[in-house]
Amino acid sequence: MLMSPKTTVEESSWTEVAADSWNRFWFTPASAEPLSKLRIAAGVAALLYFLSLQQDLLRWFGASGLLPSDVILPIVGESTSSFNYHAWWPLHRFGSPAELMTVQVLALISAVCLTAGVFSRISAGAALFFVLCYVHRAPMIMGLVEPALSFVLFYLAIGPSGDFYSVDAWRRARNPEAPPPGLSYAAGIAIRLLQVHVAAFYLMMGLSKLMGEVWWDGTAVWSLIAQTQSRPINLSGLRNYPFILNFWTHAIVYFELALPVLIWNRWFRPLLLVISIPIWLSLIPLTGHLPFCLLMLSLGLVYLAPEPSAAGTAARAS
């Protein structure tokens, strides 16, 4: 097929612009400082998550607990595939109190190491492994925090999240021959992956809410308050202020739908990050999802990464 020279030139320039934008977005070296801040928050969230399992560890995961493996695996087996994604995880083989406590202690150690920044990449990978161990052992009792924690830990294991505010950084600073932390491609890629994933996650949460009538008529917050068994505190006194309940409901949905679109605009970004603070802090007493809300609030840090520096851009261009 023949094409006019003009068309070829236009297509070539369009593809070049797209490729250049792609490369600039993904392959600009960045400082790992936002990742390091996020590492601390993710470590605390992982620690809270593991601690929340402590009391009922034997009851949920023990061989003679409420959900033994031989009952769980057929239930969670994929009907469309012969491969069971959950079967090979070690907690399906560990059921004694000693084995479960060993796994739990190792999980807690990994979360503490991640928070403190001790062998940060390895501890992020280890914390992810233990989160996945619990998730695949009994997926039907998992909540909101596990999927978010999983992808955050995954990206923290990619980027050098121990470059700042960590024991790793302190050890390096004591070594006069070690270079200071610089710009890194891995940090840039990890931050960009987090930014895109978090935006998609917000969109998913916002769209999920649009399926429920209560999120349209402004009574969703009341529905959460009215759940007498699972609410952490009793806010039913707000029944007399329906406009507040309506506003609170609409604010949650609009924020979750707006963030994935507007966060990429440098003017709206600070505004959204400021709004995220009351939104997530208010969801804690409303829903009780403390580790999840704290983690989502801290994920705003990945959008505070500085714009690509001149040095980084020069490195990429050269």
Partner: protein, 234 residues
């Protein structure tokens, strides 16, 4: 304290930028990033509902997305749909004798799960998730008896071992929520006490017992009067 040889500290030198990535490495990384985000996008886009195409794609990517838990897999990020079944507790009546008739014999132990834990860290919510799952799969339009019986059997067996009992009745009790406008409450539901007994709706119920040979049997109770253990089919 001694000065440096030059008499003053050397000026701060920012670290040099890393060497550029090769074209080949960038291409490989671009492909990996694209595939990863495509998989993540597909599973996130199909969390609330799933079309046949999305279901097929999710099953293809499953080995990656499910292994790393990128797939929320219908996790309730909507927080609430405003229905009463959000809070489904599991009530278990335990009997020492597996031949005991629950209609005539008082339970030796009665438990309402969650019986411990905090609402701040999600400990109690795990019990509600399990109760909601059983409640959901016991509805006539979505009935999956193998799942409900399997969970009832597992929960009852675990608690029977915990309390040295041989028979259990497992019930899912859903607590209805009050509407925003108390005037909409039906008669019999006290507006000033949202935890009163009328708000608790009994749903799925099953009897589970351990016979003399150690076999565990579960039967769904389809009517209130059907209580005695039935002979095992087959």
């Amino acid at each position: 304290m001694t000065d440096s040889p030059s008499g003053s500290a050397p000026p701060y030198q920012p670290p040099p930028p890393p060497p550029p990535l090769s074209e080949n490495l960038r291409s490989v990384l671009s492909l990996v990033i694209f595939i990863h985000l495509f998989c993540v996008g597909c599973v996130l886009a199909s969390n609330a509902r799933r079309s046949a195409l999305q279901g097929r794609l999710v099953s293809i990517f499953g080995i990656y997305t499910k292994t790393f838990n990128f797939d929320p897999d219908f996790t309730p990020y909507h927080l609430t749909r405003g229905v009463a079944s959000d809070d489904s507790a599991i009530v278990v009546y335990l009997y020492k004798d597996y031949l005991a008739d629950p209609t005539k014999t008082p339970a030796n132990v009665q438990m309402r799960l969650p019986d411990r834990g905090s609402n701040w860290l999600g400990e109690r919510r795990r019990y509600f998730s399990l109760g909601s799952l059983v409640h959901s799969y016991s509805q006539p339009d979505n009935e999956q008896e193998d799942i409900t019986a399997g969970i009832a059997k597992a929960v009852a067996t675990g608690l029977m071992h915990e309390h040295q009992c041989r028979k259990a009745v497992v019930e899912i009790v859903t607590r209805m929520s009050q509407p925003l406008d108390p005037a909409l409450l039906m008669p019999g539901f006290p507006p000033d006490n949202p935890t009163a007994a009328p708000y608790d709706i009994r749903g799925y119920s099953a009897e589970v017992w351990i016979d003399d040979d150690g076999n565990v049997t579960a039967t769904k109770r389809t009517a209130t009067g059907e209580n005695a253990p039935r002979a095992e089919a087959g």
